[in-house]
Structure formats: structure tokens, C-alpha cells
């Protein structure tokens, strides 16, 4: 099976002014390659500032990368001007983190879900579009759909709002959806429901998902491949079970240790955590950019950037602890 989406050695630098004469490059994404097949989910896990959202924006060609290539369905769209991207805009969609601010509060559910159809001139009559809106609402289990059509976002719960966001993305029958922290603002008790729904829709419509999250536990259960990002670079990549069962990179290990599970013994012990705060991509450390936070940092780590290499079948890591052959 061929790849639907392919990012090759993508770099996304933002020039930020520092003082009057100086400016620095913030390396939000620094040499990342990923690929996605139809019907597959790639989870991108990392903390804030890791560049995961920027990477998603590049994948949707909302940003033109500083270097590297973006390929969709075999076509190179890295430099394609916006007016020639209409076909792509229809086939690639996004789901956003915040269901409270990503929906216009003055539009009804019907208007919100219908809007993409109007923008892409789909459905000649209002009745035709209404039919599609109802089908999309049924797809995301906002039923009976007729009851939701006239509602405004404030009348819905967080989970219902996120379903409206999903219906909006889904109504154009996209082949690729980038979901940026789609459940992080939803109650813990309802998160899995939304993720199951996305999984179900994926199977039904053969959609490729980029699932961006800081939560490695949900990534473990709702993805086919898992990449861990730290300061603009992928530091570990494999199948989710492999990453969670045999985490190699110290950062991945720390992310795993940071996941609390409901255990009354937790309160008697301190949680292992990564040292310090997430680092700023504006001023990345030399060598391996994780070294200031790494418990195993060696001299080499501050000097040389470790490449992402395959340590065992399908399991890649960028860390000097695992020298390649």
C-alpha cells in the first residue's frame, strides 16, 4: 500500500526578532520525516513546545516548510500556491483542541456543520446539504440529529461540541485528518468515547489520522504507530505497544512514568518526573537537545546530535545510549 501523506525531512523555522538588530530562528520542527497510509493512525506524542502542532500545520499545508517536502497522494504540494490547493483542502481536514473556542458561538450546529459544504460548493440545494449535515451528525452520534440542528455551542457539553467539530471535519469525506489534542479539554471520563468514535469513523471511511497528544496512554490504545517528539525532533518511533513496553529513549521513559493510574499507593511515593521544565525551542541546547533534562547524560550528549536509527526491527531511537552498528 502506498503512503497517503509523506513528510520528508521537514524543517519549520520561525524568525523571531530579538532586540533591534538581532533575530533568531526558532526551530519548531527540525528535520522530521513521517508517513501515513490510508486508514492508519500515527500518534505524535510530546509536551508543549515539542513542535507537534507545527508539524500538523505543515502536514495540512497551512504552513510552507522552511525545507523538506510534503507529499499527498503522490503529489508534491510543498510549494503549491493556495489557489491550486482546493482539491487538497477538501481531502485533508483538522480537528482542534478546544471545542469551546473553535466553534463560532453565534452559529447553530446546522450552520457550523454546513459551512464546509458551502465553502467547497457541495450540494446545490439547501435540502441536499441538510441531508449531508444530518448524516454527519448521525456519524458522530449526535442523535436524533434533528434535535441538535438548531442548538448553539453553549447549549452543548464539551464532548458534544467536540463531536460537532468532528462532524465539520467529516462532512467533506476527507482522506486525512490531523487531530490536535482532540480530547485534552474533555473530561477524563468521556475521552475514550470520543477516541472510539474517531476510530470507528476511521474504519468506516478509511481515513488516515494524525493524532497529536501529550498523553502517551491514550496514544498507546488509539494508534497504529507512535512517534515521540522533543524540541522539534522525533526521538523515538515504533508500534505503540513496543514503545510502551520497551521504551528506549529516556524522555519516552519519563513520559511513561508521568502517567498516573488510579492506585491508592500512589500517595505514599513521589512520581518520577523529567527534570525541570520543557525547554524552549528558541534556545535549544547543543548536541542532543534533551541532555539538560536527561538523567543519563554523557559528555558526548552535549556535543553530538544523535541520529534516529533503527535499533531493532521497526523500533527507532535517537539517543547516544544506543550506538548503532
Amino acid at each position: 500500500m502506498t503512503e497517503l501523506l509523506k513528510l520528508q525531512d521537514v524543517r519549520m523555522y520561525f524568525r523571531v526578532r530579538k532586540g533591534f538588530f538581532r533575530s533568531v530562528d526558532v526551530k519548531a520542527v527540525d528535520g522530521v520525516s513521517i508517513s501515513l497510509k490510508r486508514g492508519e493512525t500515527l500518534a505524535l506524542v510530546g509536551e508543549s513546545g515539542s513542535g507537534k502542532t507545527t508539524l500538523a500545520r505543515v502536514s495540512l499545508r497551512l504552513l510552507k516548510p522552511t525545507s523538506g517536502r510534503v507529499l499527498f497522494d503522490g503529489k508534491d504540494i510543498t510549494e503549491t500556491p493556495e489557489k491550486e490547493l482546493r482539491w487538497f483542502r477538501r481531502r485533508a481536514q483538522a480537528i482542534f483542541q478546544d471545542p469551546y473556542s473553535s466553534l463560532d458561538p453565534f452559529m447553530t450546529v446546522r450552520q457550523l456543520v454546513e459551512e464546509p459544504l458551502i465553502l467547497h460548493k457541495i450540494g446545490s440545494t439547501s435540502d441536499e446539504r441538510l441531508e449531508l449535515v444530518i448524516r454527519a451528525l448521525e456519524d458522530v452520534k449526535l442523535t436524533p440529529a434533528e434535535e441538535f440542528l438548531g442548538k448553539y455551542p453553549h447549549m452543548l457539553s464539551g464532548g458534544q461540541r467536540q463531536r460537532v467539530g468532528i462532524a465539520r471535519a467529516l462532512i467533506l469525506r476527507p482522506e486525512y485528518i490531523a487531530a490536535d489534542e482532540p480530547v485534552s479539554m474533555i473530561d477524563a471520563s468521556s475521552r475514550a468515547e470520543i477516541l472510539y468514535l474517531m476510530r470507528e469513523l476511521q474504519e468506516k471511511h478509511d481515513i488516515a489520522f494524525l493524532y497529536i497528544t501529550h498523553d502517551i496512554a491514550t496514544a498507546r490504545h488509539f494508534s497504529d504507530k507512535l512517534a515521540v517528539m522533543h524540541l522539534g525532533k522525533i526521538v523515538e518511533f515504533s508500534e505503540p505497544v513496543e514503545v510502551v513496553e520497551n521504551p528506549l529513549h529516556p524522555y519516552t521513559q519519563a513520559l511513561i512514568d508521568a502517567v498516573p493510574e488510579p492506585d491508592p499507593a500512589n500517595r505514599f511515593r513521589e512520581r518520577r518526573s523529567v527534570m525541570g521544565e520543557p525547554l524552549s525551542p528558541a534556545n535549544p541546547p547543543s548536541g542532543c537537545n534533551f541532555h539538560p533534562r536527561c538523567p543519563y547524560a554523557m559528555e558526548k550528549c552535549s556535543k553530538q546530535t544523535p541520529p534516529l536509527i533503527e535499533i531493532k526491527q521497526g523500533h527507532y531511537v535517537a539517543c547516544h545510549l544506543y550506538p548503532g552498528e
Binding site: 475514550a192 498523553d215 513520559l255 498516573p260 488510579p262 491508592p264 513521589e270 518526573s273 521544565e277 520543557p278
Partner: protein, 323 residues
């Protein structure tokens, strides 16, 4: 650890007026807390957990429709005090609160050290020197280095700002600190660090806390006892061991099963939506979403049934086990 009650809540109700009718945000809640204990309050958004916190410190919005019952803290019933007395005698010095998102409302043009010290000067009439000394001390306690004192909020990371907010809550040595989702906007690694810091405060100062969250796994990280709220009511309360290891209420069971675990089965979820608190369901409020619903559940409200000492559940499934 002392055995005396620090807090006894009995029959507490807090209702709000709204365009759709009266919202029963806190409905007949009774709880007790001992000195040095951490009580986790867990439930979905809109279940009344933040309203419960507001009711404890009598922080009532203008559209309050009903506020009754009793909240006895340190021997004083807050419900019966007037606003002036609550401000003078209770808030900050007996009970302080870390509001949800408080780190985003630090004053951007005032040095953070001053913001930590301010309650001491305003509420206790401390001198500037005394207050600053106390502020430096408490900032050290929450893991901030001395040079942070003279910085402005924008110079601090999210984790440091949250520590500032917690330091402010501790400055007057309150007997109880209420923390409302103190880590929900933070990265996982920072969340772990803040939780470790809170555990240290609990151990070293014997600090009593109410920890409010929608995430029962996070609650387990610090709570000695856990109260599960649903639709304005406490549906199960017990020790962390009782509630987490052998949850009785179907809602508690669902909350625990909904936690995504790294190892083990895929997470479950609570189906359906939380009810509208202007017209909660008849009988047991959880019945429309309950997998074990019986005829009785639809028509009559379950009583609070004691399973063991200090462990009770509001569910008809256990009506035979009383005693």
C-alpha cells in the same frame, strides 16, 4: 496525625438562579475531614465539585438561590457567618483556595514576591518586612529559588506560576487549602513535579487539602479519602483504598475503568451526557446512564448506605448490605 474533625459538612445545598430555572449545583452534601487529611473530590464537569468548594468558603455568586446546611470548620459554621466575618475570620487564614486557572490571573505588572506577600499585609496587618520574609520562606517551601521573588509573571513558566499561586494560598498558614484542578493546564512532567511538591507539603507540614479534579487517577496521586460527585450529590465516599480498589457505585466503577492505562485493556467511558441540574432525573440521578438500572432506581432516591465505617455509597444495589 490528629483524629479530630477539621471540617464537617452537613446537608449542604447551593442552588443558583438561571434563565432555565434553579440549578441544584450542590444538593444535600455531607462530608467530614480530619486534620492532616487530603480529600479528593472527583466528578465530571458540571457535577458541582467547584460549587462545593465555593460553598465551603462561602464564595457565593450574585445569582445564588439557596445556600443552606452547615459547614463547620475549626469549630465555626461558615454558613451562619456574614460576609464580613467570613472575610475576616475564615478566608486565607483558615481556608484558602487555589482557583482553577488562577495562574493566568496573576497581576502582570506586580512582582510575584509581592503578590505572595500581599494577603499578609492586607489581612493580618503585617509589616512589609515581615510579609516579605514570610513570602520568601513559603516560596522556598513550594520549590522556588530566591531570585524568583523579584520577577514578573511573564518571566515565569506555567509550572512556576502555579507554584506562586500555591505559595499565596499558604502564606497565612491556613488549616485547609482547597485546590481546584491545580494541574489541568500543565504538561505531564510539570504536573508530576507539582504533585510531588504537594505531597511534600502534606508530609512536612501536615497540610490538610481538598483536591478537586475530573481525573480519578490524578486524585489517587494524593488523596487519603475520595468523594465521588455526580449531579450535585456525593454518590460514594471512602478511603482511597476502598474507593479505588473496590468501588461500589457504578459511576465510580466507570470513572476508574475510563482511565487509559499503559498496560491492560482499552479504556471504558461513561456513556451519555451529565444531566441538566435544573431538572435532574427522578430517583437516582445516575439511573439514565447506569448499566445496572432497576425499576426502583427510576422512582426513588437511594439513601446513603454505609458499607464500612467511613465508606458509604448512594446506590440501591447495596440496600441489603446496610449496617
Amino acid at each position: 496525625m490528629g483524629q479530630s474533625n477539621l471540617l464537617s459538612i452537613d446537608g449542604l445545598r447551593l442552588y443558583y438562579r438561571s434563565a432555565r430555572g434553579v440549578v441544584r449545583a450542590v444538593d444535600n452534601v455531607s462530608l467530614t475531614m480530619r486534620v492532616g487529611e487530603v480529600l479528593g473530590v472527583v466528578g465530571e464537569s458540571g457535577c458541582g465539585k467547584s460549587s462545593l468548594a465555593n460553598a465551603i468558603i462561602k464564595f457565593l455568586p450574585p445569582n445564588t438561590a439557596l445556600y443552606e446546611g452547615s459547614v463547620v470548620i475549626d469549630g465555626v459554621d461558615v454558613v451562619r457567618l456574614d460576609e464580613d466575618e467570613v472575610r475576616r475570620r475564615i478566608r486565607w487564614r483558615v481556608v484558602s483556595m487555589v482557583f482553577q486557572g488562577a495562574m493566568n490571573i496573576l497581576n502582570p505588572v506586580i512582582r510575584v514576591g509581592f503578590q505572595v506577600a500581599e494577603p499578609l499585609m492586607v489581612h493580618a496587618g503585617a509589616s512589609r518586612e515581615e510579609a516579605f520574609r514570610a513570602a520568601r520562606e513559603v516560596m522556598r517551601r513550594v520549590g522556588l529559588s530566591d531570585d524568583v521573588f523579584n520577577r514578573y509573571p511573564h518571566e515565569l513558566s506555567g509550572g512556576m506560576k502555579q507554584r506562586i499561586v500555591i505559595a499565596t494560598a499558604l502564606i497565612m498558614n491556613p488549616k485547609l487549602v482547597i485546590l481546584d484542578e491545580p494541574t489541568s493546564a500543565l504538561d505531564v512532567s510539570i504536573q508530576a513535579q507539582i504533585m510531588n511538591m504537594l505531597k511534600r507539603l502534606k508530609r512536612e507540614l501536615g497540610l490538610s487539602m481538598i483536591f478537586i479534579t475530573h481525573d480519578i487517577a490524578l486524585a489517587s496521586d494524593i488523596s487519603d479519602r475520595i468523594a465521588v460527585m455526580y449531579a450535585g450529590e456525593v454518590v460514594e465516599v471512602g478511603s482511597a483504598e476502598q474507593v479505588l480498589l473496590s468501588p461500589r457505585h457504578p459511576y465510580t466503577q466507570k470513572l476508574i475503568a475510563a482511565t487509559p492505562r499503559l498496560r491492560g485493556p482499552k479504556p471504558d467511558f461513561v456513556p451519555g451526557q451529565p444531566p441538566d441540574l435544573t431538572s435532574p432525573p427522578s430517583g437516582c440521578r445516575f439511573h439514565p446512564r447506569c448499566p445496572y438500572v432497576m425499576e426502583k432506581c427510576r422512582s426513588s432516591e437511594p439513601p446513603s448506605i454505609a458499607i464500612e465505617d467511613g465508606w458509604s455509597v448512594k446506590c440501591w444495589l447495596y440496600a441489603g448490605e446496610a449496617g
